[in-house]
Symmetry: C2
Subunit: 363 residues, 2 copies
């Protein structure tokens, strides 16, 4: 935790600030190890001071590392702290702080010669690079999700409902230690696969339905995320066409998934395959996203994202999930989560290539 | 849905705007019936135009009421829409829109003579008053939570872990139709009850432990929320003292829970009882909160809240949950959810007065 706070201070000169206000709950957890729905951590060059309300005061005093001072969340004590530390440029997270809260902070803290400095997601570059300890947890989270997905295949028989599968996956993971789902399981049968973010419904599985399963759990605080599209005997021919293209598109992106490649180039590689096949306009979302303490975190991997020119680094964990959706007919998506290494990506779902509804895995 | 959009237009003159941008996912659901993680609904005096990205375009076209036009989320088409509608004052939700997003909206839409108008939670007063259709759902959600809480009492025996109870409650509700938990179940044994927002842990129940259970589910989109503090034979004497005070404090608040009473006065009534007993400083949170599509929504019921002078109205649904916490020893909280009526509050947990660990209910 202390190293993380020290590392943040290393960005103060780039941000042109002499202190950082952290108030996003996940960032607070990342820096203090404590789950709080609200709280304010001020990091200066010399100190780290956490302000929490009555709900968290006792637990913060007993659990937060000793390098972080804990005080009650009162406006006056925050002002006093900033004044005593001589802070003149206070950076804040402009991507998550609301407009109203900014206005209030400015009123409280932006007095005299002190100014607020907008930094979008100041922790994003730090959180994107996982430590070995974090990677151990991410591999375990992925392993449980993989087990859960395999379990679903054993109960995938005509008549089962989308909602049944969603709940079955959740129960499987929760009873094996998962804190929660990384996101609401996306289970889609038949033409429902043409909605990228379908909500599991009462629709039963019919023979000939393609099946899209996009699931993930949170285990030891870390999220996992994988998508497989499966089929029984008589799926629409259009489905096979799309399915083959997304798998090829994913391979193209994986082949250049190395330190130094820009996020935009990853998306471009997948899109190139789709363009050749004349289906690029059926690709309705980003190629992928960073994953860790949050299911969707920096970076967004897309030619259209602001961070498209930023480059992969060792230790980043990202999803690569090309998807194609023929409106009203069917869709296919193929998603893996990988760790970026110099030697090539470590695919957390490598041995989960294809699945058929009989619960067997075909290469 | 259409009436809701019409009702919002009635506030345009008070807000000094000629259009409202709605982009909070819950508000979008409230107005369109569609769950989206992102989207923009522009409401003008004459039209309602929804912009969504590729993930939601097909489903929005097929499911959103015909009074709402659907288009793809592109900056140019939004600008064009605002220009054609002649919008000069565009209100936005300043409580949830981030500082960065505000800056971007201002750059995109704040051109020429058009200005953005900050309105914190523009839908809050509308969402706070529930329709009969909503109340039917809220009563059902509360009934399921009550059943789940009673179920927990049947398995509350020494040795059971906090986490076991949390998961048991979730399974019970989910298998009976709940979409999810309204919040992570708070199950605390022994001295853990002194943390108002304790996270269920592996701690086993020991004889003499007080037990705090704060749970709720989401059923048919509506949240429920209740807290009971229970005890076995030999709880610390301090616990009984606190427990009696929170029950009396809650009664004091309930006795004035009528249309016309201000939110601040509700809190004051409960605090008065605590002050008489010399324990007010052990009350570490608000007295309660509005509840509906979100577990915590407008109003926050506290002497310290901005809305303290706003008054109760018929059809509001709020929690009343005084709690007292003796650090390191124990805590007690007693929470009900009530509907505000002229004839007196309708308590959704009226028949759940006290519970003891043997699963019997004592008056």
């Amino acid at each position: 935790m202390l190293e993380r706070i020290t590392a943040l201070r290393g960005s103060f000169s780039a941000w042109q600030c002499d202190a950082l206000l952290v108030d996003h709950p996940i960032d607070l957890f990342y820096l203090t190890g404590l789950r709080m729905s609200a709280g304010r951590l001020f990091i200066t060059r010399g100190a780290a001071q956490l302000f929490v309300d009555g709900r968290y005061f006792e637990i913060a005093k007993s659990k937060v590392p000793s390098s972080v001072e804990v005080a009650r969340l009162e406006e006056d004590s925050q002002k006093r702290f900033l004044a005593q530390a001589g802070i003149r440029k206070l950076a804040f997270d402009s991507a998550t702080m609301s407009y109203d809260r900014y206005e209030k902070c400015n009123l409280s803290f932006g007095e005299g010669e002190r100014v607020l400095v907008a930094i979008p997601s100041p922790l994003k570059n730090f959180r994107a690079i996982k430590t070995e300890e974090e990677l151990v947890k991410m591999r375990k989270s992925a392993a449980l999700t993989k087990e859960g997905l395999r379990h679903l295949c054993t109960i995938l028989t005509p008549g089962v409902k989308e909602k049944d599968l969603a709940w079955e996956f959740e129960k499987f993971c929760r009873e094996r230690g998962a804190e929660k789902m990384a996101f609401e399981p996306i289970i889609a049968f038949g033409s429902n696969t043409s909605f990228p973010h379908h909500r599991a419904s009462d629709r039963p599985l019919l023979a000939g339905d393609p099946v899209m399963i996009d699931v993930g759990c949170v285990l030891n605080d870390y999220a996992s995320d994988v998508t497989r599209t499966l089929w029984s005997a008589k799926v629409p021919p259009e489905f096979f066409r799309l399915q083959k293209i997304v798998v090829r598109a994913q391979k193209a992106a994986l082949s250049i998934c190395l330190p130094g490649t820009s996020f935009g180039d990853l998306d471009a590689a997948a899109r190139e395959v789709m363009r050749e096949e004349g289906v690029e306009e059926l690709f309705a979302h980003s190629l992928g996203h960073g994953i860790g303490l949050e299911t969707h975190e920096f970076p967004r991997i897309s030619l259209r994202a602001e961070e498209r020119d930023t480059r992969l680094k060792e230790g980043m964990v990202i999803t690569i999930e090309p998807g194609l959706y023929a409106p009203g007919i069917c869709g296919a998506r193929h998603e893996d989560t990988v760790i970026v290494w110099e030697k090539g990506p470590e695919n957390l779902y490598e041995d989960l290539t294809f699945i058929n509804p009989q619960g067997k895995y075909d290469k």
